[in-house]
């Protein structure tokens, strides 16, 4: 994260933009606090890819490592795009979530080595060809050896393929160093960032993976207890599973922790209402409206609905 990284990446980018002219290997990477000198993850099963199907193969390897037993053939329908004879990055992300796993994007060599060092395999997108003759390819980084300057890949039909770091960086640069972690939902990336993690968990929510999302939000809150969005996300994930009492206690805690925000109170009102506790719901909804904020229209709607239901003689259960 220091000057080293800032100085190194532009150099590589510059080199790759230069194309054939004057390619050198001036920058070499060494071990640091975040990574040891070498690492090989032995727990990633290898699947040889069928033609054009490095996407399903790479994803299957990462998913199996994360505890989902699935074969590349079973993933074909969910990641492959026939007319392109390949798999789009977003399809891998979506398929990861559909299997209840956290899809966490990473960019750049330092995060890549840090995650690998922590035992997390990383799916990478390389262009093995040239910009005008692309050979887009997914592989799984399962290790590295810095003294030997190689990256170790499960790629194509070869497990544990040692690729010179320089070649790897040249081919990886063309995807703007795109990498993807596939993790159990409650696991944290070695270099987890709050906003990135929230975005990844939101993806699980969008997919309807409420149980995984709840576990992930819990992990996030253990690391960053003051995160309001994660508090709302956790409560919403419980609510979606019908765990109203759990949702209630989460929203109460968030309301106490964020006394200036109406969002936890609004959702608390809704959960109380659904539990038939009309008076408490009404009080919470009123407090939410009184706090205002950009979502005040939502709070007003909640309040009006509760009031309308009460005055309409619709007794809460």
């Amino acid at each position: 994260m220091g000057l080293r990284r800032l100085g190194y990446l532009p150099l590589l980018l510059g080199l790759s933009l230069l194309g054939c002219a004057g390619v050198g290997s001036r920058g070499t990477l060494g071990p640091s606090a975040e990574r040891g000198a070498d690492r090989r993850i032995d727990s990633v099963p290898f699947f040889a890819q069928a033609e054009h199907q490095c996407g399903p193969a790479a994803l299957a390897m990462a998913l199996n490592w994360s505890g989902v037993a699935v074969k590349p053939e079973e993933l074909l329908a969910t990641v492959y795009t026939p007319a392109r004879q390949g798999s789009l990055q977003h399809a891998l992300v979506a398929a990861t979530r559909r299997h209840g796993r956290l899809a966490y994007p990473i960019t750049g060599i330092d995060p890549l080595l840090a995650e690998t060092s922590a035992g997390h395999p990383v799916i990478v997108l390389q262009n093995l060809g040239l910009p005008w003759f692309p050979r887009w390819h997914y592989a799984v980084v399962v290790g590295y050896d810095l003294p030997a300057q190689v990256i170790i890949l499960h790629t194509g039909k070869t497990p544990y393929h040692p690729l010179p770091l320089r070649t790897f960086m040249n081919t990886w640069a063309r995807s703007e160093y795109w990498g993807l972690l596939v993790l159990p939902p409650d696991a944290l990336p070695a270099q987890a960032e709050e906003d990135e993690l929230l975005a990844a968990l939101l993806g699980l929510e969008k997919t309807g993976q409420w149980e995984g999302a709840a576990k992930g939000y819990q992990s996030l809150l253990r690391r960053w207890p003051g995160n309001l969005t994660a508090g709302i996300g956790l409560g919403n994930s419980y609510h979606a599973q019908g765990r109203l009492a759990d949702a209630e206690s989460v929203f109460r805690r968030a309301a106490k922790l964020h006394p200036g925000s109406g969002a936890p109170l609004n959702n608390l009102a809704q959960v109380l209402w659904e539990q038939g506790r009309a008076d408490e719901a009404l009080a919470a909804a009123k407090r939410a409206v009184s706090l205002g904020g950009p979502l005040v229209n939502v709070y007003r709607q909640t309040l009006e609905e509760i009031q309308a239901a009460l005055s309409g003689g619709m007794e809460a259960r």
Binding site: R84, G86, V93, F133, L202, T229, I232, L295, E305
Partner: protein, 136 residues
Amino acid sequence: MIRVLAKPVSVIVIVSLITVTFGLSRGEAAMVGTEMLLRSAKHQQAAARIEEFLNRHEVQAALVSQGVDPEEARARVGSLSDAEVERMAGIVDSLPAGGDAIGAIIGGALLVFFVLLITDILGLTHVFPFVNHGRR
């Protein structure tokens, strides 16, 4: 073709979306969604919702035009956040699709072969498995 069709389809979609949005607002749970909270600082809610819907529709249509089953396309797009869909909208055709590994260039021009052979040897590319990448 898609672009030509997209406009009239979009209008229909907007109208039905608005109907659905307002139809749902009566009696539905008024929870603050996680995504709503995330973007509440940035956008006007209604505008963001329509924009999001159009983006999703466009990306989905692009996937279908590339041979993905319509139901499957919907599921894929449905697993993405608004921000992710927004980044894809309009560029699905040019996004890289990883597929190749074993670099048999069938019918490729001789020039391409030699250029890639040389770049492979230089370590710029990695198309041919038979090229032994020397130490630096």
